[in-house]
Structure formats: C-alpha cells, structure tokens
C-alpha cells in the first residue's frame, strides 16, 4: 500500500492519469507537457526527410547496394496529407531502371520522416542479413510516399516483391514508430489485405530490429513458397502478440 494513492495510480499506467487540477483545468506544468508532446508529433509529421543523411547511412552499411531517390506525385506536404492517392503514385520522369530482381526495399517517409531517419538504415541492415537467395534491387528512398507507392516502385524496377519501411502516424508518446509492409507479386492496384504488416518498430520502446527482421524473413520465405502475401498468409505466432 503506497502512502499516496495518486502516485500509485500514476505508476500503474502510461496513460496520463492523476494530473492534478487548477480549478477545473489542467495545471500549467501538465498543460505544457501535453503541448510539448503534440509539438514533437507535429514536427515529426512535417519536418522533411533528410534523404542525404539516410543515403549516407545506407551506404555506410557497406552492403554494395546503390541508392536511388524518388518522389511521389504529391507536390509538398500539404498536398500529400490531403491527397493520399497522389502519395501512392510515382512522380513523372523518375530515375528507376528495371532489372532482374526478387525484391526491392523502399524507405518511405510516410507520416513520420523522423522514424525513417532514425530506424530506416539499421532496420534495412537487419532485413538484408536474412535474405539469402533473394536478388535485391538498389535501395529506394521515397518522399511524400504512401505504402502503395511501393507497388509502382516494384513495377519500375522489375522486382517481384516489395518491402516498404514507412514512418507511422506519430502519437504523442511515440513520434518515431516505423512500419514494415511486405507485398508479394507487387503491382499497381494491390489491396491492403494483400500485404503483411509489422508495426511499432522503435527500439528500445517498441519492437526491435532483429525481432522484426526475423518475423519478416519468415513471412517472405513462406510468401515465396506459396506465391502470395496478405491475410491469406498465416501469421507467425510472433505476430499475434
């Protein structure tokens, strides 16, 4: 039994309980704490992806893969937010070259460029370590990008499958959460139900790189064996946690 029952309440959850009161309102310290958390989430949405830094991080991994940059058809952040359809299409005049590949990995800014900046390169390294026997296309860094942009990237590079690492919508307590979407036999018009998703990758608070990469590699192997991805692909027990 704790002496202060409100302290016990606070200790038992990440939710913002027992904040105290100034009259009926929040005390100033809590008001500002909430404002700071919202500001961090807003900045995570709007600060552009530093593609030079991500490219340098990828090259520093020493994987021997080229890096290609593309943008979606959305012109700027405001249009990106209003027009998800444009974020799923490649801008005209892109620099992608087709080849013989089994998979292409896309680092997409999504709704949290911060997540890709922080977790993109190390997550990529953990994935590629586990892709024995896959012919991997040059790494694509995509801005103003939604998940389905990966389908067009796959088509343009000639890759059979696509792995999209994308910044997830920031919450007030998690601004840098990365998601992974895998689509086998990717092409324009694929539905979300035809993809497999791993979310909340943000060590040390969320899922770690090794755990996510291990699960993804299992899914990809199974997808190649059965020739499909999505809800029909039985999730590994690790995904049901």
């Amino acid at each position: 039994m704790t002496a202060d029952p409100l302290a016990a309440l606070r200790a038992s959850t990440r939710a913002r309980v027992a904040l105290g009161r100034a009259g009926d309102a929040l005390p100033t310290s809590e008001l500002l704490a909430l404002r700071a958390a919202h500001a961090a989430a807003r900045d995570a949405v709007h600060a552009p992806l530093d593609t030079d830094a991500v490219a340098a991080d990828v090259e520093a991994l020493g994987l021997g893969l080229d890096v290609v940059r593309v943008t979606s058809a959305a012109a700027g952040r405001a249009e990106y937010l209003k027009r998800p359809d444009l974020g799923r299409r490649l801008a005209d005049g892109g620099s992608l070259v087709a080849g013989e590949y089994d998979v292409v990995v896309v680092l997409a800014d999504g709704l949290s460029p911060l997540a890709v900046r922080t977790h993109g390169a190390p997550m990529l390294a953990a994935i590629l370590e586990r892709l024995d026997g896959w012919r991997v296309a040059p790494v694509v860094i995509a801005t103003e990008a939604r998940v389905a942009l990966g389908d067009e990237v796959a088509a343009a590079t000639g890759a059979r499958s696509v792995v999209v690492l994308v910044g997830e919508r920031p919450g007030m307590s998690s601004t840098d959460s990365l998601g992974i979407y895998f689509t086998f036999d990717a092409r324009r018009g694929r539905k979300d139900s035809e993809r497999n998703c791993l979310s909340n990758i943000r060590p040390p608070h969320g899922t770690g790189y090794e755990a996510a990469a291990t699960t993804l590699a299992m899914l990809m192997a199974e997808a190649r064996r059965r020739g499909l991805s999505g809800v029909a692909l039985k999730a590994d027990p690790a995904l049901e946690a």
Binding site: A15, R16, L19
Partner: protein
C-alpha cells in the same frame, strides 16, 4: 436522372443528379475533394445551395442517392418512413424546411420518423453554425439504461480507459482517474487492443467489478465487433451495451463486416439480457464522415450525406448512444480545425433531428491541422448545442489509438461554464460519494478523502 441548373454571376451551373447537387452544395471539406465530388468554385457551391433551397423536401422520397435495389440501407430508409410524421413538412422546400425548423413554435422532436437522412443532410448544408446549434439544442433525444442520457441541461461522458496491451491494472487506473473527475455517466467503454472474445470477456468483468463494487449507475461496453458480442452473450458474459461501427451504405457496412440482420440479432440478444434499470436502450454505435469513401463504397455521394445515412442505421436499433468520431479519420477527409468543427456540429444536428441520441468524440490526429484550442472550441459549441455526451480519456491522450480526444478536465470545464450536469442518476451517486460541492462542482479530493481512498483501493 434529372439535370438541374441555375445561373449565378453570369455562369450557368448544371448538376446531373441529386447526389451531385448535394455534394456541390456541401461546405468545403477535403474528403469531398479527394472523392472528386466537391464544388469547383465557391460560386458553384452557392449555386447548388440555391437550387437545393428550392427543391421540394418530398423529392427525397422519390429520388434515392444510393440505389434501392442494391443497398439495404436505402431500403431501410424507404420502408421505415412515417408519412404521418412527415405530413407537417411535406409541402415545404428544403429552404422552407430550414425556416420552419428555426421558428420557436415548431416541434422539432416529433418530426424524426418522417425525416430521411438525405432531407436532414440537405437542410444542414444550407445552415450556418448558429442554425445547427439552435435547432440541435431544442431537439433533445433522451435514452436510458442504468443512467439517463440526453436530458436538457445535462452533458454525459464516455470514460475511455484504453490501454495498449489491455493491462487490467492500467485500465483500472484510467477508470478510477475518470470517476474521480466525475466522468463515465454515459458509459465506461474500452476499445480493446485485440478483438479476442476471451479478452473482451475479461475486460467486461473488470468494468463490472468496479461498477458493482461502488454501485455506479452507469453501463459498461467493450467495443468489440458485433459478432464477438453475440458470441460472448451466448456464453453468458455480462454485456450491457452491444457496440458496432456503422456507415451509410451497405457496401461500407460490409467493409466493417456487418449487416442489418446481424445488428438486429445482437439487439434482440442484448434486450433479452434485460440488464438495464431505468431503460432498455442497449446498443452503442460509432460513425464518422469519410468512412464510406475510405472503404471505396460512397456511390458518388458526399461524405456528410452518407454520415446522416449511418444514423438511419443506428436509429433502427434504439441505441443508448451514438457518436461521430469526428476528427479521427484524418486530414484527407476533414483537413483542419474549421472543417472538423463544422462536421461535428452537422453530425450532432443531423443525428438529433433523426431521433438519434447523438454524442461526439471531439478529437484530432497529429497529422491534422488542429490542436487543443480547436477541441476547446468544438466542445464549447457542442455544449451549447445540447450534445448528449462527449468522450474523455486521461489527459486527452489516447495511448492506445494515438490520437487526442478530450480530457476529463475538459468535461469539468464545459459543465461548469455552461451550467450542465452529469446524468441525474450519476450525479446522485457522486453526491452519495461526497464528490460534489454544494454548488455542483466536482470536488478536488485530498488524498485523505474517503471517496479517493475508496476508489483507488483497487489500484494501489
């Protein structure tokens, strides 16, 4: 199809059918632009509103925006229409209907069975914010289970104690925090992290244990899929309210995995449990503009008209609670605080006029152009409009769904500045717990107070 045209500012504007006219007449919002349905200019929007104002209200009984043959929501709307209730307004145009609703002698509550969602959506498109508030305020809808929701002069709250892993101690902490701040009179309702039947039953027992230990006159709900609720009711779980997300077209509901027949089955099952003490309303629905478009099931109809059709689905099952989750769906449907506020007031107005016990989840996501000033504004406007209930989470930060709703403090503010009370049964309970001051404020409890010690006993 009837093409309708008018001339404004030297241009002639044409609208091929009723759906195109309604869409063009809708105040600006990003979702209608995304769907390619919005007016191309401000003048086209007003031209559409002028045609709409002159349209006989009865047109909506003859022309359907979503085909009768292929959509069970349209069939529900047509087949349950009450001609006698419609009679007082049957000769009016949409513009005349607005004038009629604003006259003090009009009984706005009696019209509900005679109104269709399309009529209500149409008139809302002509209205300013003050009209939406004035008519909403004088159209109360009262429902009851263990507490009574929607009485004039009250505003109830859903206490939403979500937790990312459904941890029982964490959920309980949020429930206790909300109760100490006078919230939870509409429902204690959890969005479960997973839709497993066993988890749902565990969470229901958790709320049931808190509720019965302190004899709180409220109801519990775990917002699982309706099929999960049906399954666990068969297993004898203590289900007060059956929840389901619903939308305004059969195809969009299909995207939610739900049909009218399934809702009917769940409603019958919940009624037969007979767990209410002061009423029998035992369904809870959530809706939101844009859900049909996001399911690619909008039939070329604007998102606000489709939202009103979702209330026709809801009202068929005598719900205790219905709320729009107005800022949750994202900026591609409602871009900023202005669009969210307008939509919240439209949704409340349309729900009340259709006889639905309408509440609002006053909220926003972090990629919308909105902040806590916008939720303060909408909360205040909704309080004036007589909104039945709002949703509250600790600190306004939902740590499971990652969006911002209202805090418990926000509910205290709105009740105080607007002179609103909790549901009467809940207010009596708070008085018994010595949680209210003589002038009706929620007492700030010291750590040695009896109520605080009692309510925190299960956590510390």
């Amino acid at each position: 199809m009837t093409t309708r045209r008018t001339t404004l500012g030297g241009h002639t504007y044409e609208f091929d059918d009723l759906a195109a006219l309604l869409a063009a007449a809708t105040p600006e919002r990003s979702g209608d632009s995304l769907a390619g349905l919005a007016a191309a200019s401000e003048q086209e929007r007003v031209a559409a509103q002028e045609i709409l104002a002159d349209l006989p209200l009865a047109t909506f009984l003859q022309e359907q925006v979503v085909p009768y043959e292929t959509d069970e929501v349209t069939r529900l709307i047509v087949e349950t229409h009450d001609a006698a209730a419609f009679a007082p307004v049957s000769s009016l145009t949409v513009g005349g209907f607005r004038d009629h609703l604003l006259r003090p002698e009009t009984d706005t509550t009696a019209l509900a069975p005679g109104l269709t969602p399309e009529m209500v959506a149409a008139v809302s498109k002509l209205m300013r914010v003050q009209d939406l508030i004035a008519v909403g305020r004088r159209t109360p809808v009262v429902t009851a289970f263990r507490s009574t929701v929607g009485l004039p002069g009250t505003m109830a709250t859903r206490l939403q104690p979500n937790h990312p892993t459904d941890d029982p101690v964490g959920v309980t902490a949020s429930i206790v925090d909300g109760l100490l701040l006078g919230c939870g009179d509409a429902v204690i309702g959890i969005n479960p992290a997973t839709d497993s039947p066993n988890r749902t039953v565990d969470l229901l027992h958790l709320i049931e244990e808190v509720r019965s230990r302190y004899e709180i006159p409220t109801q519990s709900c775990v917002l699982a899929h309706v099929t999960t609720s049906i399954e666990i009711m068969e297993r004898g779980a203590p289900v007060d309210l059956v929840f389901q997300s619903v939308a305004g077209t059969e195809a969009a509901n299909s995207g939610f995995g739900v049909t009218l027949a399934m809702l009917g089955e769940a409603h019958e099952a919940a009624l037969s449990l007979n767990r209410g003490t002061v009423g029998t309303n035992c369904m809870y629905f959530e809706t939101g503009q844009g859900s049909a478009l996001s399911a690619d099931a909008h039939h070329g109809v604007d998102q606000q008209t489709l939202e009103a059709r979702a209330y026709a689905v809801a009202r068929a099952f005598d719900p205790l609670l219905v709320n729009t989750v107005v800022g949750f769906i994202g900026p591609e449907y409602l871009y900023d605080g202005k669009q969210i506020a307008r939509a919240g007031l439209e949704d409340h107005f349309c729900g009340k006029l259709l006889g639905v016990p309408m509440g609002v989840d006053v909220c926003y996501t972090n990629h919308a152009e909105a902040d806590a000033d916008d939720t303060d504004t909408l909360l205040t406007l909704l309080g004036v409009a007589g909104c039945s209930f709002v949703i509250c989470v600790p600190g306004g930060d939902d740590v499971m769904l990652h969006y911002q709703s209202l805090s418990f403090h926000d509910a205290l503010y709105a009740r105080q500045v607007l002179g609103l009370s909790p549901a009467p049964e809940f207010a009596e309970w708070m008085t018994r717990m010595d949680m209210l001051t003589a002038d009706g404020r929620v007492r700030e409890l010291g750590s040695d107070s009896a109520a605080l010690k009692a309510l925190t006993a299960g956590v510390s």
